[in-house]
Amino acid sequence: MSQPPSVQRTAICIDKVCKVYGPPDSGVVALHEVDLTIYDNEFFTLLGPSGCGKTTLLHLIAGFEDVTAGTIRLFGKDIVSLPPNKRPINTVFQHYALFPHMSVLENVAFGLKMKSVAADTAQARAQEMLELVQLQQFSHRMPNELSGGQQQRVAVARALAPHPKVLLLDEPLSALDLKLRQSMRDELKRIQKTTGITFIFVTHDQEEALTLSDRIAVIESGEIQQVAVPKELYEAPRNRFVAKFIGDVNLIDIEIDDMTDNGLVRVRTKSGDLIEAVPNGSGHKCGPGHVAIRPERLNVTRKGGDGILTGRVRELIYLGTDTQIIVETEGSYELTVRVQNAHQSHVDVSPGDIVHLRPDAGTVQLLAD
């Protein structure tokens, strides 16, 4: 789960790729200048809300759509002018797209047949793939005789059979129910580990992205917002969109006061509290900005003082393992605090109380916007 070492080979390099549907000057801009590097053997996730351009990016990589500008390189080779059947990349479609008139085995062997692999070799390899997804006993069924989860696994086996260099998966789990989704998640991770094939996985589910991925690219309105390992994405979001999209967060309007000696930035909230924030990159100037703090990073204390936020408890919400405390501040913004119920003493407040909140050291993030 750590940052891939720099010696790792680049599988896909997306360089200033633009995509406009329709006429170039008046069409729908689906992707603005996207730059992205995806390493070999990586489980890479494209995460973003509906309509942000995830499918478009996958289609450009697979070759179903032409780029409007920019290049896509696969292991150094420019592939933008190649048709999909000339790209050693396979896709698992959102609705599987299994060929309804072919048996499971024929579906899985299709790619090999098209690559002119000898029939018996193709059969053996298809059978092997079905074993990988634990469907060997279903090889003679027709796709409509399978459950959703089984169809999903056939789709994965079919895409893996021709040994692609990169596997694209477009929201492959979104059509499954919750339980199945969780078990398929583990299965996908296992398959990726066993085969060592680079996976580019599309989802709009942040939890899915965080649990599966080596690295995640967050996309919004056709632009990459941040590329990072899951931990960094959660703990050090670059901007407001990323902070809000991944998990719960307190976004606070602040004025940047000045730098401290230890590389932190001193910021002042609307209610006048001074806290220290971790700057995101460099180039922060004095003036208005935003910081992000995760609710579980705020601790209730009895004393006020430097580096501490102050407010009045408005509401306590019991959530089972946690309790959520909503705190109103003088700066007329709200803070959400989440404390684990195992730490009984911390929840020892009631609505109307004045509380002081101390952020954990290094968890207040100064955002780029």
Binding site: P83, N85, A97
Partner: protein, 266 residues
């Protein structure tokens, strides 16, 4: 909602009378023809016992034999060609990129359905005369092909519209070239639509009278023309027998077309 409407309609005064009237008008002549084709006597109003004699006569009649062969040759070739053209048109219209004047082309393809048949017939005749093709089997085939295209086009394009393009993308993704993707994925998935369109075109060609009458040269007499010729000379139960046979053929083909078109919609 729908059921409610139907209920109300049934209570409408005279609903039953009108319905029965329509059914009788539509089907009584066919039933009479079919029944009297088995009549043992020459009468077409008095029942004289059961016999297959008129059928035997039909099968022995050399003129009808020739007309049957002509009809089949024309129907098979015209519907095959029409289906092929309709298939290409459907792929271009449904799968191709949107182009300017697409609606216009759609109307053009389906024009034979809208234009009165007599106009098509006269038009075809003038066209053949103008470019100097002498009338014969060939001209009937050409005219039928054009006329049958929309009948083949409609079920084929309906079927194609129901197939999401993910399947072809998946085929291309799995290393199939454009032809292989059509051959192994799209064509088998479209097959019910293609068969349905083919059969519809076949029946339309087999039954056509107006256009055929206009552009058939000597020696290109088809069954409907032969029947018409016989009726003009004098009505015999032999005509009942041929008509019944044609009715049967049409029914079989249309039913098959319907059943095949309906299978595997999903």
């Amino acid at each position: 909602m729908m059921a409610g409407h139907a209920e109300k309609l049934k209570k409408f005064p005279g609903f039953l009378t009108v319905t029965i009237g329509c059914l009788v008008l539509l089907y009584a002549p066919m039933i009479v023809i079919s029944v009297y084709s088995f009549n043992a006597t020459r009468s077409i109003t008095k029942w004289g016992g059961f016999s297959l004699g008129w059928y035997a006569k039909v099968f022995a009649n050399p003129e009808i034999q020739r007309a049957t062969v002509n009809s089949l040759v024309i129907a098979v070739s015209a519907s095959t060609l029409a289906t092929l053209l309709a298939l290409l048109a459907a792929i271009a219209m449904v799968r191709g990129r949107a182009f300017r004047g697409q609606e216009g082309v759609y109307v053009l393809i389906n024009l034979p359905l809208l234009v009165p048949e007599i106009i098509s017939a006269v038009g075809s005749l003038i066209f053949f005369l103008a470019i100097g093709i002498s009338l014969g089997l060939m001209t009937v085939m050409i005219a039928h092909t054009i006329f049958c295209i929309p009948f083949a086009y409609l079920p084929i394009s309906a079927r194609l519209q129901g197939i999401e393009d993910h399947y072809e993308q998946a085929a291309r993704d799995l290393y199939a070239n454009a032809w292989q993707s059509f051959r192994y994925v799209l064509a088998p998935m479209m097959l019910p639509g293609i068969v349905s369109g083919y059969m519809l075109a076949f029946i339309i060609s087999l039954d056509d009278f107006i256009i055929t009458n206009m552009v058939a040269g000597p020696g290109a007499t088809t069954l409907p023309l032969a029947i018409y010729g016989m009726v003009r000379i004098g009505f015999t139960p032999e005509i009942n027998a041929i008509s019944t046979l044609m009715l049967l053929a049409s029914l079989v083909v249309v039913t098959l077309s319907y059943l095949i078109g309906r299978t595997k919609r999903n």
